[in-house]
Symmetry: C2
Subunit: 306 residues, 2 copies
């Protein structure tokens, strides 16, 4: 195999009570990427469509992840990369992670799969770090591996693929505004009340238990965020209305996707998800802000060869 | 049925990363309690052995829980209660919860089971509150219902019985010293760094996932406490040595049971548990402090009729 074409999925990190530790993989939103073996050594980004991104490896998340990878192995050939972005940068649904995870998955395939999943997660984290300024796996791990992923901790990276209830469907509304990750971080306190932390981890425990037992009511009761959402929601116009209308129309829960501005809802079944999407759309049409909306089942596979 | 004799089990609350939200039920340590229907209305504590506890209902956790219960139903008879304490007060393994959960279970049986499990948990929380000064369910719920219980939240009480891996065995070393709950609380900070909280809930997620999948290695990696243990361990002589020796001898994890002073270890299998118990014992014999030690599988049933 000398060339591979990939679907590189978007992902939702945090999931409310799972702040910084949970992410899930989407199925209907994602970039495309083509990777080719070349006789020339090294990595060369040859084409980028859909976004104005740098071609220099060191300034491009896919470039950084790919370099990290080929520096870890001795080969006398190289790779060229085409990136066709569909996920908008700064959307809060893992645009940079899609590139970082896609490129390491693809190169690993063309190399004959010498690297383990957890090595691939680490390489893609290096790419992601260029965009986020820190080593996070809560978007790259679900994008790479699919499903719902818990990041138990780092040093070394320890991720767990949680069971996905079969009827779970995600809705994502992406208001086309820019919320800088730095702004999203700046509003978070450095310290939180112990009581608040206990509330959050009680809910996280409930969410994980709900996923394993397909207990949608428990998932619904647990999908709360008392830590980040109270601070971050003010950066997202009409957040409260969109969330409320999602819940009123049957969503199990709703919140901020990643660092925002995207707003997600989780639903049981496609019918409810479509109804929730329509209601969320209606709640946003009133604003003058353009937006995208997506309905997606959970992608159990992660990055896919297409 | 006019009389019932009960085994009222001890329990371990917190389980490190599960601070304030997880508890599990023990099998080899527990009080006994006898409850009799009487033609006289009301509750009367007629006998207490093994501890110097008040006979007045309002000053006794069993009395308070029993009163809460009979005040919620119309009956023209009453109950008398014998309490035979085996679990020492202030041990950190749910002595008061054993009394509070035992009495509500027993009276419910003699009444013909009019109350649901969650109503029983609420009644027993009222008894527990007399001892702990707050409404907590992380000892009473596992004592009543058995197994490993997650308290997702309160208002209303929301508890989830988590799957118990079949080879899980607990070891508890109880140093016979008094650690006042008020002292144990006073050492905890009101606020914690957000980063610390995230570490704790990443581990809690891993622990719950480990329980559902019987992944003992994951349970082991997750059984950490970066919130309470660093502050509370100084109240427990030789804590670090006991914990270290438990881990060196194969325990999955070890920590403070409840608010202490008991130290628990979780192990895979009886053989390891007995080895860990011997090592913990040896680490404590060097101190001049007397102690009890218990090895127990997880009690899936909770309070039992004997």
């Amino acid at each position: 195999m000398n060339e591979i074409k990939l679907f590189c999925p978007a992902s939702i990190a945090n999931l409310n009570c799972g702040f910084d530790v949970i992410g899930l993989c989407l199925d209907t939103i994602g970039d495309e990427m083509i990777i080719r073996k070349t006789s020339e050594k090294g990595i060369k980004i040859t084409k980028i469509t859909g976004a104005d991104l740098p071609f220099e490896n060191e300034k491009n998340v896919a470039g950084v992840a790919a370099l990290a990878m080929i520096n870890a192995i001795e080969i006398d050939y190289g790779f060229e990369i085409e990136i066709h972005k569909k996920i908008k940068a700064g959307s809060g649904i893992g645009s940079s992670s899609a590139s970082a995870s896609g490129v390491v998955f693809g190169i690993n395939q063309l190399l004959g799969k010498p690297f383990s999943d957890s090595e691939l997660v680490e390489f893609s984290m290096q790419g992601e770090a260029l965009a986020s300024g820190g080593f996070h796996a809560d978007n790259v791990a679900p994008a790479l591996l699919g499903g719902i992923i818990l990041i138990r901790g780092y040093n070394p990276i320890d991720y767990i693929k949680i069971a996905t209830p079969s009827e779970l469907v995600a809705v994502v509304l992406h208001p086309l505004i820019e919320v800088k990750t730095s702004a999203s971080r700046a509003v978070l306190p450095n310290e939180i009340p112990l009581k608040t932390a206990i509330t959050q981890w009680g809910n996280l425990g409930g969410l994980i238990a709900g996923f394993y037992t397909s207990d949608y009511e428990l998932i619904s009761r647990s999908l709360l965020d008392v830590v980040a959402e109270p601070h971050r929601k003010k950066l997202i116009p009409n957040f409260d209305q969109v969330k409320q209308t999602a819940l009123q129309n049957g969503a199990l829960g709703a919140g901020i996707s990643g660092a925002g501005p995207s707003i997600f809802a989780l639903c049981k079944g496609n019918e409810t998800a479509n109804k929730v999407a329509d209601a969320m759309k209606e709640a946003y049409v009133g604003t003058s802000i353009p937006f995208d909306i997506h309905v997606s089942k959970i992608n159990e596979e992660g990055v896919k060869i297409i």
